[in-house]
Symmetry: C2
Subunit: 365 residues, 2 copies
């Protein structure tokens, strides 16, 4: 077995999920993630955890959902009981076809998701972690050769997470103390309030309330946005490729939008509801192991030298206890690179210039 | 998809497991059984059942068990809750290597089995069915080409179960009314009492308390055995090949044994405990779709024109309520062919001669 698979399993079990003796673990394995599952099972055995392995197959899901009608039993007892009694849920993704469920009608999918809301909540109440095993199918989606993609994934996953977490804590500290963020680059000059909001240090560990491996971003929930921003990282939104999205904000709301490709997709997003016209997230990508776009949000938004903003729903973790943030049915991330001629200011002080953070060598104030 | 896979799924869902709307189903899928799982999931969707899919991988189990120590938590809460809340358990077997767990120490395996006895009981309390998807690994074990093995499996599985169940019911009726069974062939003349015992019509359906697909045997629990029997079907017992086993019984107990190969294995079985020297089962193979030995007890003991006897434990289903049958830590099946010059008598009346049952054309009394 590739040593990197073993190391990936170690990061997953020890850094991300913090497995302890006696933990009741559900490990969901996609068809292409078998080797990572074997490496993970070995560590779960060593740690003395208890293991139930489920099969997360798009083809099985497709066959089941297409054959079913739109009336699903609410929260089946056996599935609910499994997750309500689990401490940890590990999702090992990586299939053989990213479009395996492409012909399941959206309404069917939504009806099933609504009926099993309680199951999903029970799963999210565990110390859950979602990660990706590099498969040929995912390499294809990223437009990369298989070995090239393996290197890409392991560069992103096999970080020195402890030291990255410390570095990200600096950024969190600056955001927590700050009142206003300003992002400036060639075609962007945007100002957001973050007063009273708490940043999350998302460093790929349940100990930090971070549930994706890889991760590597610090995010908060901005408001009162004004100015203009252009997103130069291409994205796939609702199945369509959008490029060079630009947004103009006044009093916290989008008042103008455009895109070089599929601008109507952005229009549809903005029309979802009132909250969809406001920002729900400002995220600062700090994982320098991710150095290219692969059209996979799990990686793209964590990329070093990028900042992302999400239209729509804000996360509770960023809000003072009891305070409601921006609410919406959508949360659509858009990414802009800040590696070149750019600066990120907090209360007038530059914290990142041309991609360099203020604590890094080469930072010019 | 091969039509036979769809038909296999239909037999499994409708004849064997009798799936109904709202059933909470756990489907355990071995790594090679994916296609059967997809076909089964489709039918579960059509029937309106609720599905949790688990992954039954020998390699994952091996990694986990080898890494774990000998102290296992008793009946992990999440696993127990899953099965306690399930109505149906479908085991779709068929891996890529029948020896996938060969290097797991036996004590480790036993320690785990002991600790999870409650989980196993909860699983057996459901309407469970175990079946096999033909894989290359199983073809290899059977010494057959892949396509040849597929035909073999589907011949065994895709029967007219309803009419076979009726035919088997005739045999059950004869055994239930009978007091004494005598088996006579070239080197065999054996007499057993079956007075007061109830035969089971094992026709591959939970409606008949039969949990294997394929099945196709009628079995009861004999006692007071006397005489001599030779088993001409080769078997693998405790990992060793045994051939031409012969047993001599007096007053219900084995007093002499021999075999043309690995006779010591039979000696070890007989020495296990007192019950291991007595019979626990007399089974009559009635599945004519199975026409050759494949060294897989799931198929071999159901084969038409064979009778099998098991040393050791008797099944409760054959015993009057509250009566204890032969007890032992082992239950070792041995098979003899009755297609040639042979007869099976119940209370002096021939019910099967040279392989023909008394209700079949060509039967000669």
């Amino acid at each position: 077995m590739d040593d990197r698979i073993r190391e990936h399993a170690e990061v997953l079990v020890d850094w991300s999920a913090r497995i302890e003796e006696g933990d009741d673990v559900v490990m969901a394995v996609s068809p292409g993630a078998h080797e990572l599952a074997v490496a993970t099972a070995k560590l779960l055995g060593e740690r003395g955890a208890n293991l139930v392995t489920t099969r997360a197959s798009g083809e099985i899901t497709r066959a089941y959902l297409r054959a079913h009608d739109d009336e699903f039993d609410p929260d089946p007892a056996h599935e609910l009981a499994l997750y309500e009694n689990a401490n940890v849920y590990l999702s090992l993704r990586g299939g053989h076809n990213t479009a395996a469920t492409a012909d399941v009608p959206a309404e069917r999918r939504q009806a099933h998701a609504r009926a099993t809301e309680g199951v999903r909540e029970a799963r999210m109440d565990t110390d859950w972690v979602s990660t990706v095993h590099p498969t040929r199918s995912l390499a294809q989606q990223a437009g990369m050769a298989y070995e090239e993609y393996q290197e890409f994934v392991y560069n992103a996953v096999l970080r020195d997470w402890e030291s990255l977490a410390e570095e990200m804590d600096r950024m969190k500290g600056l955001l927590d103390e700050g009142s206003e963020v300003r992002l400036v680059s060639a075609n962007t000059d945007l100002t957001m309030s973050i007063e009273g909001r708490t940043a999350v240090n998302s460093c790929a560990s349940v100990a930090y309330d971070s549930h994706n491996l890889p991760s590597g971003e610090v995010f908060t929930a901005p408001y009162d946005t004004s100015g203009h921003v252009e997103f130069d990282v291409p994205m796939t939104i609702h199945g369509k490729r959008v490029r060079d999205v630009s947004l103009t904000f006044e009093d916290g709301e989008v008042v103008e939008y455009d895109a070089a490709q599929n601008a109507d997709v952005i229009g549809d997003v903005l029309d979802t509801d009132e909250g969809a016209r406001r920002l729900g997230e400002l995220g600062i990508g700090m994982n320098r192991g991710i150095d290219r776009y692969t059209d996979n949000i799990l990686f793209d938004e964590k990329m070093g030298d990028t900042v992302h903003l999400a239209l729509g729903r804000a996360y509770d973790a960023n809000l003072p206890e009891g305070e409601a943030g921006n609410d919406s049915a959508v949360h659509v991330d858009l990414i802009t690179s800040v590696g070149g001629d750019s600066r990120l200011e907090i209360d007038g002080e530059v914290v990142q210039r041309d991609g360099q953070f203020r604590w890094e060598d080469g930072f010019e104030n």
